[in-house]
Amino acid sequence: MPYAPEHDEVPNPLRPGLRAESTPEPCAVVIFGASGDLAHRKLVPALYNLALGAHLPAAFGIVGVSKSAFSHEEYARDMREALGRFSRTKPVDPEIWQDFGAGMRYVSGSFDDPDTFARLRSQLEELDRTRVTRGNRLYYFATPPSTFPTLLRQLKSAGLINPPLHPAFTRVVIEKPFGRDLASARALNRLVLETCDEKQVFRIDHYLGKETVQNLLVFRFANSIFEPIWNRRYVDHVQITAGEELGIEGRARYYEEAGIMRDMIQNHVLQLVCLSAMEPPVAFDADAVRDEKIKVLRAVETFDSPDQVQRNVVLGQYTAGSVAGADVPGYQQEKDVTQGSRTPTFVSLRLNIRSWRWDGVPFYIRSGKRMPKRATEIAVHFRPLPHSLFGAGTTLPNVLIIRVQPQEGIALRFSAKVPGERYRPRTVSMDFRYGSAFGATPEAYERLLLDALRGDQTLFTRRDEVEAAWKIAGSILAATESSEFPPPHPYPAGTWGPQSADQLLAGDGRAWRRL
């Protein structure tokens, strides 16, 4: 846990200057939704890899909770098999597994049944005795949001949530979506905070666990050359793209409810906007970083009328087409999608940030499913030259591209002289690739789980952040979900969205970057 002295206590004399990262305190992780996809594919593999890298305390245990009937041994076997399939490091180390698997327990039961939580309690007490987990608990809600109220209520009634200043910590990790609009997000936050303190709540957005997203902070605030030009005087506009090749992959029920705005924009993409646009924090700690992020969200201009939304937002929905050389069905043909569905699978929008740094610099965002390729990037387009010394049209403005995925890295586009010819500039690119420079990076969930175990909330979203993001997304959804709003523009799968998305920029004399 990061060292945070109380005002009247003696500071830890052994902590200052240590270069080794601290190991989390002994702890039991409780996964609700333990038989689900997230636990199999991400959570347990992430915890195992943390154990493999000696990042976990040896005094550690996992309790899976879900309706499916498993014994402890069966659950451990199931997870061992999941590791064989989904762990980023293979083969599974038998010695590490022996200890890791020995700390695995399972509680079967309904979340509505108080007996489930009574059995969970005795299981946790058993882990405290046998694995020295010392009463510390991290609850991970890998379940639909509709279960959160029940889980919180039951945990509270069973005496499984300690107050924030209790020597044994209780932390709750909540998966997105955090509500489906501002009102439900507020209601959920109220409910969570009736049971826990904000310091105990970890709202997870796995985008923030990506190394390249974190690198944005390092890139901006550990280099002195970029920050002076990172503003309206030098930046013409910013383009953020988050495109996926994939369609909805059998998740029609979820997607019909969510659509692209709730699935990508309200959380992941607005986080990218925050990290690109925020001011330097006064310190690199959870609250200082999040204070600056929220200032950006508050400065984003919300849309007051459907007309304003129509001028700044383009929605799309994919039709049948070809992606990576294969025929794919249109959204309307996907299994379980309602006939005539108006759910958008693509959005492009123009955001204005009303601040001294960014006023007048549009942030163009596009995100969609069934794009030609998977690509997430932030492209900062600098202003064109005031006067072209080498002839009109011979140079292009500088662009700085931060590639989030794939081929994570940073590229700078600039002009160079073509050798031999008199003075003919040509656009070239200086490219830094993260993978080449630093090799394999850990999975986002590894970083985020480790931070949650350490109690570091920097990469987790705070209550006010979630609500501010919903205010922006909500101002768009209020208009686009009205029956009077035009339906999404169709676009063939395997393209970068409908033509109207291009027109959104063309109207400003700009164009999307070709990816």
Partner: protein, 361 residues
């Protein structure tokens, strides 16, 4: 140096790099020829000729054998920190005079992550190594020198002057060498030490224990500290005590040897890295008292256990898994600091040197 402490940064020989190009020089060193060979080595891979370089890593050894034993560690560290690796083997005692350059590249993630140039000089040809090295350095990135010899001599003095950091392993030498290291550090030498990186888990666990809410009350009353080393008193134990003394005023300290180091495992380099064996002089136990509480940190195979006894019955407060502290990984940790001082180390090594018997140098 004493054989029983092993060799600095020795992790074992890696297989000889495939596609290594070699040239022998009869007179001086032709740097252009080495650059040519490097280009050939890059070209051999076809695609992915982009080189990534975050530092110049210069490793200095005095026999070919020393380098062979360190090669794996250098590769592991190089994979975490893309670099130009310049290995200088200065074997002055072997005749006749000769100078050979071997050049190869290591690829990772579609790019060249390590450009390796091994310059081996015997006899009087050793005098050319320093100028050759200077000519082969990348200009834009820091220079880190790995020093395989005693912390003495002209070559080290010149390395101190030109390098951003110098990394050695005082744990591979009798502890009296810490006195020499302390002198260098006092003169401002930016020294890194694998023995220091080896005690990170001990330091971290000791600090973690005092962050536990019910044990924070003991922070202000630490009175004594005691370290037990395996087989013989080693630099790690002295550094650990030196660190404690530099952090806690009026601390009474003691160090002694007990038991034996662990046997070498049958296969020293498993596919999956795990905690290294308890070597000669390594720390096996560390205690500090804050009356009435006694904190004991002890090693149990791959685990570090922290226990507290005092006004309670005594209980294990924390157990952490020891990281796979192979020399390559430790070197990788030290390379995270690319320039300047590790202030904590500087204070610890000064305090550790004072714990040596007087007259030691």
């Amino acid at each position: 140096m004493s054989e029983q402490y092993g060799e600095p940064i020795a992790a074992g020989a890696a297989p000889h790099p495939a596609g290594e190009l070699e040239v022998r020089f009869d007179r001086g060193v032709d740097l252009a020829r080495i650059e040519q060979l490097l280009q050939q080595a890059r070209d051999r891979g076809g695609t992915g000729q982009e080189s990534v370089c975050t530092l110049n890593l210069v490793a200095i050894y005095f026999t070919q054998g020393q380098y062979e034993r360190a090669r794996e560690a250098l590769e592991v560290a190089g994979s975490a920190h893309p670099c130009r690796l310049l290995v200088l083997v200065a074997d002055q005692l072997t005749e006749p005079e000769s100078l050979t350059a071997r050049v190869s590249v290591v690829r990772s993630g579609g790019a060249i992550s390590m450009e390796r140039i091994v310059l081996t000089a015997t006899g009087r040809a050793v005098r050319h190594l320093e100028s050759a090295m200077t000519g082969l350095l990348h200009t834009e990135v820091p220079l880190v020198v790995i020093w395989g010899g005693r912390p003495q001599g002209d070559l080290l003095v010149r390395a101190v002057e030109s390098a951003d950091r110098i990394i050695g392993d005082s744990g591979a030498r009798p502890p009296t060498f810490l006195a020499d290291v302390a002198k260098l550090v006092a003169r401002g030498a930016p020294i890194g030490d694998l023995a220091w990186a080896r005690i990170f888990p001990w330091q971290s666990l000791a600090a973690d224990v005092l962050d536990l809410p019910n044990l924070r009350e003991h922070r202000g009353n630490i009175r004594t500290a005691r370290v037990v080393c395996a087989g013989a008193v080693g630099a790690e134990g002295l550094l650990l005590l030196g660190w404690m003394q530099s952090r806690v005023k009026r601390l009474s300290v003691a160090i002694h040897a007990e038991g034996q180091p662990e046997e070498e495992p049958e296969t020293s380099h498993a596919v999956i890295p795990r905690a290294e064996r308890l070597g000669l002089g390594h720390v096996s136990r560390f205690e500090f008292t804050s009356p009435p509480a006694t904190f004991t940190l002890r090693r149990e195979r791959g685990l570090l256990l922290a226990e507290v006894k005092g006004d309670d019955d005594g209980y294990v407060v924390n157990r952490v898994r020891l990281p796979p502290d192979t020399p390559g990984r430790l070197l990788g940790l030290e390379l995270k600091l690319l320039a300047g001082h590790d202030e904590l180390y500087a204070a610890a090594v000064q305090a550790a040197a004072k714990l040596l018997p007087t007259g030691t140098s």
